[in-house]
């Protein structure tokens, strides 16, 4: 089978899902302003919200990351993908699975697991696809033709191993008949938090660790920092799930453990970020911001710092008292998954698409334009959600404010969220057009196709 067929399938499919997910997000935002829009069962606000998160996580981000890694890993390891056929089977089965899962959500067949609403049998099939992906990743590493494993490979390996257990815990173990109440909530929070921390963080960081030095033509700043980042994150991230339930009904000691480990997360994050910025700082000046790829990587890293400093900050009991359960958390989640990791994934798509098509990116200018619209729209997008969270959090402190009154106080934020979200949505089409033109468009230039090893 032709090299990179699996990567191509997954990257193209993921870009289409991205648009669907953003549509759902925009519709949710609209329903916050005009709640009577689309008042039918299949488009009720909670279902659209479930679709928004699930399509983003499984249709777009996870699939894009898998596709990009299918391309990157053979290059790092100087070999071919362990099994291209298995990769294609993974891609096709995965897409059928997520489509089935999304249809089930629309029809109201859901699991009561945030980020894991996709019901059986589709969630089991996602786990099967993940194991197929794991076999391919481990197989490719095992058949490598280089001695040393590069940082991206550590993260990819860590991610495929951790994710298997994280996904099973949240989607299967939490649904066992003897698990209920607060215990179930704890397992689900373990999943929700680590879905971001041990699935999307290592996959995104793996991609960035490959792209930043490659794109800037500069070696990674510090090998020691790479090691600190990886080994510390594999130990500390998993403990923090309970910081989402501060002041709540679960054991106080568990909350304290989660707070302490949330703070220790600053160590690996700072190691990774220093490494990325160090590489940017030592890169040739002309390459640092040339075209959309380094811009997306840089801005993704900036969002990564902010989201990872915000995390420990929110985990302080006194801060949580104000911001927890408000729009603030929504802003935080968007900065992590859209700001940091979708930016890395978009940079990855922009990087691998031309390589797979065997010609340069359709238009760097268009890519730059997309970057600027998305960035200038996403900053106020996140900011209004934080502002609204703080406003509502303080408003709740006074029992004389009726609940609807505190809701009316943040109406401005909901309007801003919709309008800035609309700009992000528009910028997405520039991204899609650019990528699709690169793959299928009619324009002349051809460049050398980068293959891992000779066919």
């Amino acid at each position: 089978m032709k090299q990179d067929t699996a990567a191509k399938t997954m990257v193209i499919a993921s870009c289409l899902y991205f648009g669907l997910a953003l549509t759902m997000g925009l519709l949710t935002a609209l329903k916050f302003i005009v709640p009577t829009v689309g008042e039918i069962e299949y488009l009720s606000m909670p279902r659209v919200r479930m679709l928004h998160t699930n399509i983003n996580l499984f249709g777009w981000l996870l699939q894009a990351d898998m596709g990009i890694l299918f391309w990157i890993l053979p290059r790092i390891l100087h070999t071919r993908l362990f099994s291209e056929k298995l990769g294609v089977v993974t891609g096709i089965l995965y897409n059928l699975t997520v489509i089935g899962g999304f249809a089930a959500i629309i029809l109201g067949h859901v699991k009561n697991v945030e980020y894991g609403e996709i019901p059986p049998p589709f969630d089991y099939l996602i786990a099967v696809c993940w194991v197929l992906f794991l076999i391919n990743v481990v197989g490719t590493v095992a058949t490598r033709r280089v001695k040393y494993l590069y940082v991206s490979v550590w993260y990819a390996l860590g991610s495929v191993i951790w994710t298997t257990f994280v996904y099973l815990t949240g989607n299967m173990f939490s649904q066992l008949p003897m698990v209920s109440g607060v215990n179930e909530a704890n397992l689900i929070w373990f999943y929700v938090h680590n879905a971001v921390g041990l699935i999307f963080t290592p996959l995104g960081v793996a991609i960035a660790y490959y792209l930043i030095p490659k794109q800037l033509d500069t070696p990674i700043y510090s090998h020691k920092l790479s090691m600190v980042g990886f080994w510390v994150i594999s130990f500390v991230y998993v403990w923090t799930g309970a910081h989402h339930m501060l002041h709540g009904p679960q054991p106080y000691w568990l909350q304290t453990v989660a707070i302490i480990f949330s703070w220790s997360l600053i160590i690996p994050v700072m190691a990774v970020i220093t490494n990325f910025f160090g590489t940017f700082a030592t890169a040739p000046r002309g390459l640092r911001m040339k075209g959309p790829i380094p811009k997306l990587l840089m801005m993704g890293t900036v969002y990564y710092i902010f989201t990872c400093l915000q995390g420990p900050f929110q985990a302080i009991r006194e801060v949580s008292e104000i911001v927890s359960k408000t729009d603030w958390v929504v802003g935080h989640a968007h900065m992590a998954l859209f700001g940091a990791f979708s930016y890395y994934a978009m940079a990855g798509v922009y990087y691998v698409a031309p390589k797979m098509a065997g010609r340069p990116l359709y238009s760097e200018k268009l890519g730059d334009l997309q970057f600027w619209i998305m960035t200038l729209a996403s900053i106020p997008f996140f900011a209004v959600l934080w502002i609204s969270g703080v406003v509502q959090g303080y408003a709740w402190l006074n029992p004389a404010n009726s609940f609807v009154e505190t809701l009316e106080a943040i109406r401005h934020a909901h309007i801003m969220r919709f309008s800035t979200g609309g700009l992000i949505f528009l910028a997405y089409f520039l991204f899609l057009y650019n990528v699709m033109q690169t793959f299928f468009g009619k324009y002349g230039e051809t460049a050398e196709k980068e293959t891992a090893v000779a066919e």
Binding site: L149, V153, G181, V182, F190, Q250, L407
Partner: protein, 194 residues
């Protein structure tokens, strides 16, 4: 034997797994063993009826949890806001949730918390409110003027009459594992169920 982790697939994978597994075990399997309240209750709990269980399925299917939490946190603001007739709402304890196969503790309050809502409003009020969420009923006769219609809850008019009854039956059970809504003589403060 000197092991070079960076040259070994086995050591990298094993190391990453072991470091992860320590935290994973200590934060998922161990907590219910140490804090038994998470999984066992030493107090009597409400057993859900068939109808209430159907209501739970509807609550889950319609995704109520995405806007309504079910937890009175250890915060004065929560206790005051979700209290009743100047009686503070009791803090939610782990054991109260033991019978909830699906927990609806929730993460976001776009609408008010429902942990202690059972019995606060009549079932007729809920009926009208599901049909038209902007209808806050006579309980709020223009108390806040323009704010009365500020609710952004979606209408659930598409639910069948039976479904609304089932859902309401479930909602009326919420928060009643603690009998907190009584005056100083232990007389229930609830108008609807006297």
């Amino acid at each position: 034997m000197k092991v070079n982790v960076e040259r070994s697939l086995l050591w990298t994978a094993t190391g990453a797994f072991v470091l992860f597994a320590i935290g994973a075990v200590l934060t998922t399997i161990v907590p219910p063993l140490v804090s038994k309240d998470m999984q066992v209750s030493q107090y009597p709990l409400h057993e859900y009826t068939e109808q209430e269980l159907r209501g739970i399925e509807i609550y889950k299917r319609e995704g109520c949890v995405y806007c309504h939490t079910q937890q009175i946190r250890h915060l004065e603001s929560d206790q005051k806001r979700y209290g009743w007739r100047l009686v503070d709402a009791a803090v939610s304890d782990s054991w109260e949730y033991v019978n909830d196969k699906d927990n609806f503790l929730g993460t976001k309050r776009t609408g008010p918390d429902l942990a202690r809502v059972g019995g606060k409003y009549s079932s007729e009020w809920h009926w009208a409110h599901f049909k038209d969420p902007r209808n806050m009923g006579e309980k709020f006769p223009n108390r806040k003027g323009i704010y009365e219609r500020a609710s952004i809850m979606p209408s659930f008019a598409y639910l069948s009459d039976e479904e609304i009854k089932d859902l309401t039956a479930y909602i009326q059970t919420l928060g009643r594992n603690k009998n907190w809504r009584v005056d100083e003589n232990g007389v229930p403060l609830n108008d609807y169920e006297k």
